[in-house]
Amino acid sequence: MFKDLNPILHSQLRLAVVSLLITVKEAEFTYLREKTNATAGNLSVQINKLKEAGYIDVTKSFKDNYPLTICKITPQGVHAFEEYVKDLQAYLNIKK
């Protein structure tokens, strides 16, 4: 019997964002947009969903009079990602 994959993470853009944030300490919105090739609106919506789930922290400020959004994965997000990868490995029958 397979566990259902976490629906918050089992979405292309949200999974891409969390995969990027797992490798860095924190990242700007523009960096995430560039790496995922997503539109600003779409990315913004998905970031909000991850924030609501408690998987990422979002800090908004200004840099040289332009809005600056910085995203950082939370310990809850790291745990969810690790669980997601474990479930995925079980689903794909990948032995560690």
């Binding site: 979405s11 853009l13 999974l15 490798t23 300490k25 924190e26 790496k35 090739n37 779409n42 995925l88």
Partner: protein, 197 residues
């Protein structure tokens, strides 16, 4: 990238791998810092060697140029951090290694002066090698690994080569550890930049 596209298990795994690789390969270094320090140390070493024969008083203070070079270095570091768009765990660690090195080298310069150590090239070269090798190893950047090893090799050689000729080894160490890797980093950076325009 679509947000709600249904993913298969294989696609999810592929996406995770591809994103992690994109972040890993995004190492951002303009090469300016390495070029700056390589040039400064080479210039100071050769000027000190020349001054051994010239005996021109102002050149006795040439190494203060390394203190002055801290100012552009701070500006470069702030600018690079701003344009990078992310902070990595590794850059914090490597930053700590370089900061420790900077403190150690200034401390040793004071000790060499206070204890009147004239033949200090082997110790400087040993110190040059530490952050260079650590950065090369951490970033998997072979020219800096070679540069670090070259500094340590030159440190042993410097024991047997008296002052002022040992200053050529100092210049050689800076060339191998920073100037050449700096040129290579700069070339990669400019190439990557031109592809993004």
């Amino acid at each position: 990238m679509e947000n709600e596209q249904t993913l298969t298990g294989e696609q999810s795994l592929e996406l995770i791998t591809s994103m992690i690789n994109r972040a890993k390969n995004d190492y951002y270094d303009t090469g300016i810092s390495a070029l700056l320090w390589g040039s400064v140390i080479i210039f100071c070493s050769l000027a000190t060697y020349a001054n051994h024969y010239l005996q021109w008083a102002p050149l006795n203070y040439i190494w203060f140029l390394t203190t002055a070079a801290v100012v552009p270095q701070v500006i470069i570091s702030i600018r690079e951090a701003k344009s990078r768009g992310y902070k990595s765990y590794q850059s914090d660690l490597i930053g700590g290694v370089w900061l420790s090195y900077a403190i150690a080298i200034f401390l040793f310069s004071y000790l060499a002066y206070a204890l009147n150590i004239v033949h200090d090239a082997p110790i400087y070269l040993t110190l040059f090698g530490i952050p260079t090798f650590a950065t090369g190893y951490g970033r998997r950047f072979m020219p800096m690994i070679i540069g670090g090893l070259a500094c340590w090799g030159l440190a042993i050689l410097a024991v047997y080569i008296p002052y002022p000729n040992a200053l050529f080894l100092m210049a050689g160490g800076a060339l191998m550890a920073w100037f050449i890797p700096g040129l290579l980093l700069r070339r990669c950076y400019l190439k990557a930049k031109s592809q993004h325009v």
